[in-house]
């Protein structure tokens, strides 16, 4: 079925810049609603700083709880951008075009949000400054460069820098379009950001080369980020359930699963809010769902390996931990929800073409995936710490406090707020990619069938 419509350049500009050149009706109420959570969320964080970590549910031996879970979750979501933009660009998947910008944006904002959580988790985040400078050389104390906790900020920082650059480079031609269609301070703003873009062949060549180079360079960073996050746990033999060799690919595949699902959620919202029916079409959801089936199944395979090897050694503490996780209330309920929402329900839907092309179903199943993926991280981090071990003198189950839950809600509001703020000033669907797609795609008659055609330069 052909869903693609031939659009001229004027129509593309009109439709895709509609949110930038004038404010949609729903925009201000939505921003106010999200803004409420953002402001009250920041207030809650300040309250926590003032009162200390005692207002959270964290206590011995569960020092890593909802904050670290949410940190891992947002780092996972950030894998959407590179997966969609870099990998699909390198593999020349034509359907990626309307999705790339939103995915890259999600990467940047989710990474920014993720960075908040370890800082909050530190309790008195300003003291982290002492860790950096002025450095206490006199006492001969050096940062432990062998610790993944040290690699984490470096990897995430590099990823954030690279992703921002990636987003910006792809934005330049669109900024020039906005520059030419605005007046006053906006024109000045876009002129500065457009870096003198005129769209001459040399500029296009440089932009294309930069995109491909960054795609290739970002790939190892993309893999390293979540691998390093996984090693925060995996290199620790003292906590049961953590010391597993599969953690790195398991985390990366899980991150892609949750990140791409978040892109699906966002695409549905973009289509509904800005009425971009000509640009975000059921065929895009279909393609993403097919990709997700593969990713989700690989992720399930890793989950299976992780579980089977945890009990392979037949060590009593490991078996007890898995019994706690899978058979003991309330962990068993969380485990069942995790399996149902992370794989069984969504993939159960996605195997049917009708469901893949139904945007409402795709929207809700993609949300389910992220419920499951958040629970996965929670189940990896907390039960291993909460279970009684021979040398722990105190132990208790962990229940996140209201403060922690509210900060979790804040993180979602914060990312959505930033996304909408960005969408007010910059196009969420790349104009130049859409125009390029119009040029590079066509259709032809073969026999009685009309077949879509894509054009590729000869190798």
């Amino acid at each position: 079925m052909q869903q693609r419509r031939k659009l001229d350049q004027k129509q593309i500009n009109q439709e895709l810049l509609s949110g930038n050149l004038k404010t949609p009706k729903w925009y201000i109420p939505t921003m106010l609603f999200l803004g409420f959570f953002v402001v009250t969320g920041f207030a809650t964080i300040l309250y926590m700083f003032n009162k200390g970590l005692g207002v959270t549910g964290l206590s011995r031996p569960v020092y890593w709880g909802l904050f670290i879970t949410t940190f891992v979750f947002w780092v996972g979501i950030s894998h959407a951008g590179i997966m969609i933009s870099a990998i699909l660009r390198l593999t020349q998947a034509e359907w990626r075009r309307p999705v790339t910008r939103a995915a890259e944006l999600l990467t940047v904002f989710s990474l920014l949000t993720a960075l908040f959580f370890p800082l909050m988790h530190a309790g008195r985040p300003w003291r982290i400054v002492y860790w950096l400078m002025p450095y206490d050389f006199a006492r001969g104390i050096w940062p432990n460069v062998r610790s993944p906790l040290f690699w984490d900020p470096i990897a995430i920082g590099t990823y954030l820098t690279g992703s921002t650059l990636f987003l910006y480079i792809a934005l330049i031609p669109d900024l020039a379009v906005l520059r030419d269609r605005t007046t006053g301070w906006q024109k000045v703003f876009y002129t500065i950001l457009a870096l003198g873009w005129r769209g001459n062949p040399r500029q296009w060549l440089l932009q294309a080369v930069a995109g491909i180079l960054l795609s290739a360079l970002m790939l190892p960073i993309f893999v390293s980020v979540h691998s390093i996050v996984s090693w925060d746990f995996a290199i620790t033999p003292s906590v049961e359930g953590w010391h597993s060799t599969i953690f790195a690919p398991y985390f990366v595949i899980g991150a892609v699963h949750s990140g791409v699902s978040a892109v699906v959620t966002m695409m549905a919202l973009m289509r509904w809010l800005w009425k971009w029916n000509n640009h975000i079409r059921p065929e895009h959801f279909d393609a993403l769902a097919r990709l997700l089936i593969v990713v989700a199944t690989a992720w399930l395979g890793c989950t299976f390996l992780e579980l089977i090897f945890s009990v392979y050694g037949r060590e009593a503490p490991e078996i007890a931990l898995r019994e706690l996780m899978i058979f003991t209330w309330p962990w068993n309920l969380l485990f069942i929800i995790f399996l149902l929402t992370g794989y069984i329900i969504p993939v159960g839907f996605w195997i049917f073409k009708k469901a893949r092309n139904n945007i409402v179903i795709m929207f809700w199943t993609s949300i389910l995936v992220n419920v499951g993926m958040w629970l996965e991280r929670f189940l990896i981090i907390v039960p291993g710490l909460a279970r009684k071990q021979p040398f722990t003198f105190t132990w208790e189950a962990y229940t996140p406090s209201l403060v922690e839950w509210y900060i979790l809600v804040w993180s979602f509001a914060w990312v959505s707020f930033l996304m909408l703020l960005f969408a007010r000033f910059f196009p969420l669907i790349p104009l130049f990619e859409t125009k390029e797609s119009q040029v590079f795609t066509s259709e032809t008659k073969i026999g009685r069938a009309t077949v879509p055609v894509i054009y590729r330069e000869e190798d």
Binding site: P249, P452, V453, Y455, E458, D459
Partner: protein, 459 residues
């Protein structure tokens, strides 16, 4: 007029490709004779090994490595066709047959694995159950399940090959002569190319391809754990089955590249298998090469930081122990050298260079298999297997292959090659119907000042 030209092209391609099954390449008879003699020697070698008995497990290490090499090389090759076909990649059409033709080698692997199944120790050793993934299963579960799965995989591969060959068999019925015509008539099952027949064919290929992939993963999972990991006390490595499967894809790609090289050189397929096919596979080869390091490092870092006795044992036994030179060989030939060569785009487009890289990768995979399986089988003993880990004093010395081991390896590789070459006498090395599809869906068109390729992408 255009249609006439197309039908002339189809007829030419059909006759050209069917003729390749009838006209033998130069010196074919001599090659077949040499391979037959070596195969017979290999079978004699197997008989000698069986006559020596199954008690001494270390004597079966090189045999296990050989089976693993065949399993990971030939059995993975059809995946080179399956995955891109499912992803609707247009470059894959000329090489799907070469890749799926490797399914016939599965017969050799399945039959040759029977003695190894007899050599595998039972689950209950000295009245105590050894560590395995078969927690409470019956004593010979690994033996039965592996036998079922390897024969299942072979049948599935043959089914896939047959399904994807039906239109070609019909072409042989219509254009072939002698026994080929008769064979085409009986095996093409009345295929005349109606809409429903094509739809059913595509569906069967898709389903069998997916099933083959799942079976391949299952076989890799069972073989890597039951025939290597669980034979070494204390080796607990959740990523290992994935590593085994990934290296399997790596060598599957390498063997396909090599077969494509020979198909061009000796079967005159230069007009069908061209640089884009090699280029596309070289990128996959590069990806698997990098993944080799990623998977290896993901396990290594966890063992390195774990520092427990069993963690250190894994490093000391499998990496820096007596087999260090073999490990280094695998490291350089599976990762470092191919990676350094394949990062250069010019090399990725050079067919002879890719053939050299493929050879290096295959040697690297063989060394890796020797390292893993010879160590596992020579470490195993009824006394050591129940310990928490293998003490350093029980580490085996470096084992050189016996004459029988060498004969078996050469014999089985020769037999596999022989069967592959003989099968090219039945089916053309490039699929006729997919060549037609390429002609139908791909054409060079003028775009402004340049030539571009227009590729049809039917649903």
């Amino acid at each position: 007029m255009a249609q006439e030209t197309n039908s002339a092209k189809y007829s030419k391609a059909t006759l050209d490709l069917i003729n390749t099954t009838m006209i033998a390449p130069k010196k074919m008879k001599l090659i077949i004779m040499i391979l037959s003699i070596l195969s017979i020697l290999g079978i004699i070698g197997i008989v000698l090994k069986i006559l020596n008995g199954f008690e001494d497990k270390s004597a079966w290490g090189y045999y296990a490595a050989t089976i693993s090499f065949l399993l990971t090389t030939a059995a993975a090759a059809p995946m080179v066709a399956i995955a891109p076909t499912i992803a609707k990649a247009d470059w894959v059409r000329p090489i799907t047959r070469i890749a799926s033709l490797f399914s016939v080698v599965g017969i050799v692997t399945a039959l040759a694995s029977i003695p190894l199944i007899f050599a595998l120790p039972p689950l209950i050793v000295d009245e105590t159950r050894r560590r395995s993934i078969w927690f409470e299963a019956t004593n010979y579960s690994p033996h039965v399940w592996f036998a079922l799965s390897i024969f299942g995989l072979t049948l599935c591969g043959l089914g896939l090959l047959y399904s994807s060959s039906i239109p070609d068999l019909a072409a042989m019925r219509d254009h072939g002569t002698g026994w080929r015509k008769k064979m085409g008539k009986s095996l093409s099952r009345g295929f005349i190319g109606t809409d429903s027949q094509w739809k059913s064919l595509q569906m069967r290929i898709g389903m069998m391809g997916t099933f083959y992939f799942l079976m391949l993963m299952f076989v890799n999972f069972l073989f890597s754990i039951d025939f290597a990991l669980s034979l070494v006390a204390g080796w607990k490595d959740a990523i290992f089955p994935m590593y085994h499967a990934m290296t399997s894809l790596q060598s599957g790609i390498a063997i396909c590249i090599l077969a494509m090289f020979f198909a061009r050189k000796y079967w005159g397929m230069e007009n069908y298998i061209k640089v884009p096919q090699f280029w596309a596979l070289s990128k996959l080869q590069l990806a698997t090469t990098v993944l080799w390091f990623y998977f290896f490092y993901s396990a290594f870092i966890v063992f390195w930081y774990g520092r427990s006795a069993s963690d250190q044992m894994v490093i000391n036994l499998l990496i820096i122990g007596p087999y260090l030179p073999v490990f280094l060989g695998a490291f350089f030939l599976e990762f470092f050298v191919p990676w350094w060569i394949l990062v250069w785009n010019r090399v990725r487009k050079s067919i002879p260079s890719l053939a050299v890289v493929a050879c290096l990768v295959l040697i690297g995979v063989l060394l890796d298999r020797i390292r893993i399986f010879v160590i596992s089988w020579s470490t195993y003993s009824n006394e050591v297997i129940h310990k928490k880990f293998v003490p350093e004093q029980d580490f085996p010395q470096f084992m050189y292959p016996s004459v029988a081991d060498i004969i078996v390896f050469i014999g089985l590789v020769s037999l596999s090659t022989l069967i592959f070459i003989l099968s090219t006498r039945i089916l053309p090395l490039v699929s006729v119907w997919e060549t037609h599809q390429s002609l139908l869906l791909t054409k060079v068109v003028k775009y402004v000042r340049t030539d571009v390729i227009a590729i049809g992408k039917p649903d």
